[in-house]
Amino acid sequence: MNKLWIETANLCRHYKRGSSTVKAVDGVDLQIYQGEYLAIVGSSGSGKSTILNMLAGLDTPTSGTVHVEDIDLFKMSKKEIASYRADQIGMVFQSFNLIPHHTALYNVEMALFFDNTPRTERTQKAKAMLESLGLGERLDHKPADLSGGEQQRVAVARALVKTPTVLFADEPTGNLDQKNTNQIAELLSDLNQKGLTIVIVTHDLQFAKNSADRIIRMDYGKIVEVIKNGDRNESS
């Protein structure tokens, strides 16, 4: 087995709404290994996105811990958590989350603002990354001028350009048609083959079964099932 990279212990994220409490994530123990392709599935509102956000340090747990390579993530300062994101995490979202008034190239470049990449290198890297994803012709286009699939590839390029340790993707294909979904799925599998750790949240169990090493099913904030995807492991 590969090296343990992230480990959560009794991770909880509760929202107080008046007298009632929404337990978005409720006592999750989860290990993620380097090079692993992990899929999180579950019905809407089961807490998938919330887990991912806490793993990325964007959200703060109400209790429990997240250890990244034995370091307690939430004992770090805000600044350190920010540079953890800058250096190690790439994120992709269902709604792409590109900045509409910047070009595709600049959107990708911005991912390199925070890891001390020199200015000239920044543009080169961003260009190369977009070209490798087949967007060489689209560098100067604004997001609105791109198709959904193209926008999501720009978002993937932005996540990958800084060569992160892990890619967090929250329903990356949720807004895409089948053709584009397949394209992204292939792309991710390809990246995982090359050694990138991937954590993906998806509704699409078939997608998960086709791609992931391990599938976690959530319900009401708890892990209710862990499926080892033996078929895929054998094939890789």
Binding site: L58, K78, A82, S83, F93, H101, F114
Partner: protein, 500 residues
């Protein structure tokens, strides 16, 4: 990420929101323009006063007066009654002895008296009623009396020459002043004496004893107030008639002198000279014959005890003021303390200038405050714009945070934007303020020219003003941006990135 990236992003955002940026910056432009133009006026005035002081050598001039007769012996008779119960301090006269004492004060390089006469002069066929002032030879070289417009200075204390001043030229609208140089001038003054004054009390055209008696209300004489009033009125009338008689003696003294030059005299009532300047010997001749003392001179002589009505010979010569020239680097306070110790009243221009500077400080503060209020209003515009911008760009903030931006970065990004609004506004405001000051200067100067006043520059824009205006514009916009920027830094990325 460096400043250049921040500027790039900020400029991009401001350019996308052209109208909003323009309107927000306009507020700053107006405020800074107001600030700059008003303070430019303040600075201009200050500079004018300072340079005028300097030109006239006022920073080393002190004027000495007698103790104030107004204060020690009020003219009102009723108050005089109450005062007479106290022992009145005798006012020390400014006579030759005073001149000697004053000139011996350490740090005083020169002391010369100021004496003036009411005279009339005739040049060619024109007669001018005016005043003459004695200019002793020792004062020729002082900055105050040095600058000649035409001709030459008086030769000496005994020369039979006369100087006109530009005061004279202005007052009598002399078209070609230089043509007067070398001309003969007849100076004449009415002599006045105590005899004629006393005579006028009992025998005056306007005084009729019989009529006065008729006017009395004898029944009311028992009323004490009525009596007091009558006596007061009568006493006042008598003094008035004495002065009239004193002044209206018909003997005239005159002399013929040569006009040698025209002097440029200073500003302000304390420094400006009389329209005509005469040498010492002429003044002494006029003085000995009792020439041209005005009613005020008379009153002050009487109240200071210099005038003894029944023994006119005892009248010592005295001056209305004595001018002191003070050595460079001497503390004016020391000199003025010594003057006070001698029993006189000093007036120091340097000390006055401190007061003027204090005044200008508050004046500038007042003007600045008006500009500042405008700036605060403008800053509310900045706050509004920045808050709007943050609401609109919430998702962008979330994205930047997901990419690894920390709170400081977000804060700086938005501060950069408001600072840019401030920079644009302040720069344009300084330019506009300058234009306004030029316009104001143009209008003021053409007005002054029309009025025949020497046109002076009312506005200046020293570098410190430009720098201060810029710094204040920048500081206010940073302050205005601080609250929104802190808010931006605290945006919850999870909420901002939620897909809907």
């Amino acid at each position: 990420m460096n400043l250049r990236d921040m500027l790039h992003i900020s400029v991009g955002n401001l350019r996308r929101m052209k109208l909003r940026t323009f309107l927000t910056a306009s507020g700053v432009v107006i405020a800074i323009a107001a600030f700059v133009s008003m303070l430019s006026f303040g600075a201009g005035m200050q500079e004018n006063v300072a340079s005028e002081f300097n030109n006239l050598g006022l920073f080393n001039t002190m004027i000495v007066y007698q103790k104030d007769a107004e204060k020690e012996f009020p003219h009102d008779l009723q108050e005089k009654d109450t005062l007479s119960t106290n022992e009145p301090t005798k006012i020390k006269p400014l006579n030759n002895e005073a001149l000697r004492q004053l000139s011996e004060i350490p740090g005083v390089s020169l002391a010369y008296p100021y004496e003036s006469f009411t005279i009339s002069v005739s040049i060619d066929d024109s007669i001018y009623n005016t005043e003459a002032q004695v200019l002793p030879q020792i004062a020729y070289k002082t900055k105050l009396h040095k600058t000649l417009l035409y001709g030459e200075h008086l030769g000496s204390d005994s020369s039979r020459e006369i100087l006109l001043t530009n005061q004279f030229i202005k007052e009598f609208e002399i078209a070609f002043p230089d043509s007067l140089i070398g001309k003969q001038l007849i100076i004449s003054a009415k002599a006045s004496s105590v005899d004629s004054g006393l005579y006028a009390i009992v025998k005056s055209d306007s005084f009729n004893f019989v009529n006065k008696i008729k006017e009395f209300d004898f029944d009311s004489l028992r009323n004490k107030n009525y009596v007091t009033n009558i006596l007061k009125t009568e006493a006042n009338d008598a003094v008035q008639r004495f002065i009239d008689g004193y002044m209206n003696r018909n003997e005239i003294i005159s002399d013929t002198l040569t006009i040698v030059g025209i002097l440029d005299n200073g500003i302000g009532s304390r420094t400006s000279t009389k329209p005509i300047l005469i040498p010492m010997s002429i003044a002494e001749k006029f003085n000995s014959k009792g020439a041209g003392r005005g009613a005020m001179d008379f009153m002050s002589m009487m109240s200071s005890g210099q005038l003894d009505i029944f023994n006119q010979k005892a009248k010592p010569k005295s001056f209305s003021k004595i001018t002191l020239n003070i050595d460079q680097g001497v503390m004016h306070k020391n000199v003025s303390d010594s003057v006070k110790a001698l029993g006189y009243r000093p007036f120091s221009f340097a000390q006055e200038f401190e007061q003027i500077q204090k005044f200008f400080f508050y004046f500038d503060m007042g003007l600045g405050l008006i500009g500042l209020i405008a700036l605060i209003t403008a800053s509310l515009g900045i706050v509004n714009t920045m808050v709007m911008s943050i609401i609109e760009r919430k998702r962008e903030i979330g994205i930047l945070k997901s990419l690894g931006a920390d709170e400081l970065y977000i804060k700086l990004l938005f501060l950069t934007e408001s600072a840019m609004i401030g920079t644009i506004g302040a720069s344009a405001g300084i330019v506009f303020g300058w234009l306004i000051s030029r316009l104001g200067s143009f209008i003021a100067q053409s007005y002054m020219e029309k009025e025949g006043v020497d046109a002076i520059e009312l506005f200046t824009m020293p570098f410190w003003l430009v720098l201060t205006a810029f710094a204040i514009g920048l500081a206010v916009s940073l302050a205005a941006g601080y609250f929104p920027a802190s808010k931006a830094a605290k945006v919850d990325p999870v909420e901002a990135l939620r897909s809907d």
